[in-house]
């Protein structure tokens, strides 16, 4: 069996570890008249870490990704609960299938169609106008960016939460009910702790995907203000500054490593104690 583990490891090495090493090395390169030159300079790191626009973009991106993870997790939970516990297996299978359907279409295309929904004279405003509401302006705002992030992450979070809840042992829930525990208390004290790993994983995915997304902040957020991924593109576009773009990318990767570590600790931490 060990042999069959080799190809994916080789694949990851060739297409993730090697480019990653290249990316880190490039943070020390310089650009001379639009041409990349191998070098050993700290100038790119100094420039980016000192730049006001980097700090603003970093805080903004982090906040929006966190907000998306929270909104996606909280809003998906009632639906995931219903899917996992309240529906007939056949209905549940159908709805899970429907949650996969959005992934049939490429994400940029879905974002473009969302742009049409939210344009000033678009579908949403046309629908709410007869009710005396609106018009709402969503495009080119942080709200637009978050809407895009949710288009990307919500179906995934809902799926992951549903699978996590489906794996909660039914007898634990029944035991809680038999002992007189109410529905909400059962959710909070039995279901959520038992499904914790899956729920935390779902939120983490939402954060990771939003933090690195380029499409939603560009086409729904109007780059106003730019996120870190847009900053990467800007650095390349504005002077072929791949080294500076690499610095931004490496800080993003480091951030995600820290976030993942924290979330894994949250997911698995204290389990032995809890079970014991």
């Amino acid at each position: 069996m060990a042999f069959w583990a080799i190809p994916p490891i080789l694949w990851q090495f060739a297409f993730f570890v090697v480019p990653l090493g290249f990316l880190v090395a490039m943070t020390f390169w310089s650009v001379r008249s639009f041409r990349l030159t191998p070098d050993m300079t700290l100038a790119n790191w100094m420039f980016i870490l000192k730049a006001g626009f980097f700090r603003s973009a970093y805080i903004y991106t982090f906040k929006l990704a966190l907000l998306t993870a929270l909104i996606a997790s909280l809003s998906a939970f009632p639906a995931a609960y219903t899917l996992a516990f309240r529906l007939q297996p056949r209905t549940r299978r159908f709805l899970i299938f429907m949650l996969v359907v959005p992934f049939f279409t490429s994400y940029p295309v879905r974002i473009y169609s969302t742009q049409i929904f939210f344009s000033p004279e678009g579908i949403i405003n046309a629908m709410i106008a007869p009710l005396g509401l609106g018009p709402v302006s969503v495009l080119d705002t942080p709200t637009g960016t978050v809407v895009g992030y949710l288009v990307l992450t919500l179906p995934l979070v809902l799926l992951l939460q549903t699978f996590a809840l489906m794996n909660t042992p039914r007898d634990l829930i029944e035991a809680a009910h038999n002992l007189g525990c109410g529905r909400f208390r059962t959710i909070l004290t039995v279901i959520v702790p038992t499904a914790r790993v899956g729920l935390v994983l779902a939120a983490t995915f939402a954060f990771v995907l939003s933090f690195g997304d380029y499409v939603a902040p560009l086409y729904l957020g109007g780059s106003n203000p730019p996120t870190l991924s847009i900053l990467i593109a800007d650095q390349v576009k504005s002077g072929n500054n791949w080294p500076r773009a690499s610095v931004v990318a490496v800080t993003m990767i480091l951030t995600l490593i820290v976030v993942m570590t924290a979330m894994l600790a949250l997911a698995y931490g204290g389990r032995k104690k809890g079970r014991g």
Binding site: F16, P19, L20, F22, L23, M26, S33, F34, R35, L36, A51, G52, F53, S56, A57, Y60, P108, Y112, Q115, I116, S119, P120, E121, G122, I123, A126, S137, L139, D140, L209, F211, G212, D213, Y214, V215, L218, Y219, G221, G222, S223, N224, P225, P226, S229, L231, I232, A233, D234, V236, K237, S238, G239, N240, W242, A245, S246, V248, A249, M252, I253
Partner: protein, 386 residues
């Protein structure tokens, strides 16, 4: 009828908004993109004798423009597209020799291309420069001393583009309108530092908007930054068309007829003006790439693009329209597409684009002279993230 039923999706298709390179730059794939970005710039077809490789702004490889040339020479024009002069310089610097035969660039980058030995000296007698308007027969940025390096194909003016149902013509007679309270959150920007900062430099009273000392540059930054509360967003080339169409942006400074004319044709209430402080001229010109192995074909292509027929077709390029410098091209356009000639103001019986040029309100777009491109770019990055 609503504004989203197909009109602007057409433009997106034409302008290739889903630029793979830009999507690859998303952080999730940053590592891969870094590697890909410096390895995919070679055009696989460049060795083929029957292929002319063109490096250009979007839309110049459109059959509506290149088909007669392809038919005559039995070849195929393959265009690699860029947006903005800096990405063009990057592609020229990083692509293997022979990747491109012809480069279409803005005049302000021609000297940089020449200094790096990327483009060939041209023989002026090979091209119909004598048919050009006198102002463009010896366009300074295309010449180094007495040597010609690039042939002008198109030009246009940049001022303010505005939705006529949201802003009146009298409102936008000065760039001051951009700070108007009623335009808060409605001022869009083309995401490229050069045109917008040039227009704002004119607003600040700099007669040579790109040749300014450090105190004027500091003042320009203050002017730019003070506009941020008005900003709706920072748009790609294609997104400008859709955001003006759907009304998310009511005005965009630093652009002009090249965006407006096509939208007008689709019924969008929109116009463009050069405010009283002045406007910026953009130009596109073609040069033969020094490392090309098909220089005869490259020369023939530039001859076609500067010929009356090529000029008339280029003026109404489906991606974006432009003025043309060849008077015989004006004649063809007036004969074959009189309405389009009128919309472009390329007619002889009314006030035309050359009259505006003669008014002295138009400054030629250049890269910064007393500061570096990087300084201006960094100011733009700061502006975006405020």
């Amino acid at each position: 009828m609503t504004d989203f039923d197909g009109k602007f999706t057409d433009f997106r298709a034409l302008l290739h908004p889903f630029n793979r390179r830009r999507f690859l730059q998303g952080a999730g794939t940053a590592a891969g993109a870094a590697a890909i970005g410096i390895s995919t710039t070679s055009a696989p077809a460049h060795a083929d004798d029957k292929v002319l490789n063109l490096l250009s702004w979007p839309g110049h490889g459109d059959p509506a423009f290149v088909k007669p040339f392809e038919d005559k020479y039995g070849c195929k024009v393959v265009a690699k597209e860029y947006v903005g002069g800096e990405p063009m310089l990057a592609l020229m610097n990083q692509s293997p020799p022979g990747s491109f035969d012809v480069v279409l660039a803005d005049a302000e980058y021609i000297h940089m291309l020449q200094e790096s030995n990327f483009i060939d000296k041209l023989d002026p007698s090979d091209y119909p420069l004598k048919d050009y308007w006198p102002e463009f027969q010896h366009f300074p940025l295309h010449w180094v001393g007495n040597d010609l390096y690039s042939v002008m194909i198109r030009f246009g003016y940049l001022g303010i583009a505005y939705r006529t149902d949201m802003v009146s013509d009298s409102d936008v007679q000065s760039y001051k309108a951009l700070w108007d309270d009623k335009l808060k959150g409605k001022v869009g920007f083309f995401d490229w530092y050069l045109p917008t900062m040039g227009c704002l430099s004119l607003y600040n009273g700099n007669k040579s908007p790109y040749d300014i000392p450090s105190d004027a540059f500091d003042k320009l930054k203050d002017t730019l930054f003070s506009l941020h509360p008005q900003a709706s967003g920072f748009y790609s080339m294609a997104d400008q068309f859709s955001m003006l169409t759907n009304g998310t942006a009511a005005v965009i400074p630093g652009i002009g007829d090249w965006v407006v004319l096509l939208l007008q044709k689709s019924g969008v209430p929109i116009s463009a003006t050069v405010p009283r402080e002045g406007g910026i001229q953009w130009t596109e010109s073609m040069s033969i790439v020094s490392s090309s192995t098909k220089k005869d074909l490259a020369k023939a292509f530039i001859q076609y693009a500067s010929s009356p027929e090529g000029q008339a077709r280029s003026a109404i390029l489906p991606a974006y329209w432009a003025s043309i410098p060849n008077k015989k091209g004006w004649d063809v356009l007036n004969k074959e597409h009189p309405d389009d000639a009128k919309a472009l103001r390329l007619t002889y019986d009314a006030r035309n684009v050359m009259d505006e040029y003669k008014d002295g309100k138009i400054a030629i777009r250049q890269t910064p002279i007393q500061q570096s491109i990087e300084d201006w770019n960094d100011a733009w990055s700061e502006f975006k993230s405020m």
